[in-house]
Assembly symmetry: C2
Homo-oligomer: 125 residues x 2
């Protein structure tokens, strides 16, 4: 029980940024795609982009704040690794919304079928 509370506190402290917001930026998405295959040195990531190292560093900080990236210090280098479990929040929301949306069509379908049978009943009078 206590452990659960600590877990929650931990989550609140670490995960303090919106995942949706984090993946809104195309550069950040590219960073994720790059290090999805394997961890990379921060400088190595920055070199593949046009913008400066500091800009990329900031992006990675944002990704770290929502738990999408984990950084491990190793000597003077910092290895960035993705942890894409947090993306479940995104796909969950998408599937949930789509489900509701499709459900609407189902209801409409029922309505149209009801209408059809009723019209047929009227025709039988």
């Amino acid at each position: 029980m206590i452990a659960l509370i600590f877990m929650i506190i931990f989550f609140i402290m670490i995960i303090r940024r919106d995942v949706f917001q984090a993946i809104a930026d195309p550069t950040r998405r590219q960073i994720i795609e790059k290090i999805a295959a394997g961890p990379m040195n921060l400088n190595a990531i920055a070199e593949t982009f046009d913008s400066s190292r500091q800009a990329i560093s900031k992006h990675i900080q944002i990704l770290t704040e929502c738990g999408l990236v984990v950084v491990t210090q190793k000597g003077r280098e910092r290895y960035c690794e993705v942890c894409l479990e947090q993306l479940d929040e995104v796909s969950d929301w998408v599937s949930q919304s789509k489900k509701q949306w499709l459900h609407r069509f189902e209801k409409l379908d029922h309505y149209l079928q009801d209408l059809k049978t009723k019209t047929q009943d009227d025709g039988n009078h």
Copy 2:
């Protein structure tokens, strides 16, 4: 020729808005959730939020620009309906990235198993 370039720029700027960016805002996500069940009048949507009608109108404009919402004029009212097929772009990206990420673990797993069998071989010497 110049006109064509301007057309392309226009297309990129106006028609094509990033879906990721559109769903980055929590208010817009709430709007989507609200009208996922069925179309709503613009004013009706706005009334469920604290912010002004114009603010919501702007959000819906953004959602329209990336095809997530379709607006139908009906007399003086505008009915807003979602069209969540565009969200596939999001879930596709998520699943693609996660796939790559999990693939990495698989490779690591193979490596560890290789290491294990080799150690066992060494032990058999």
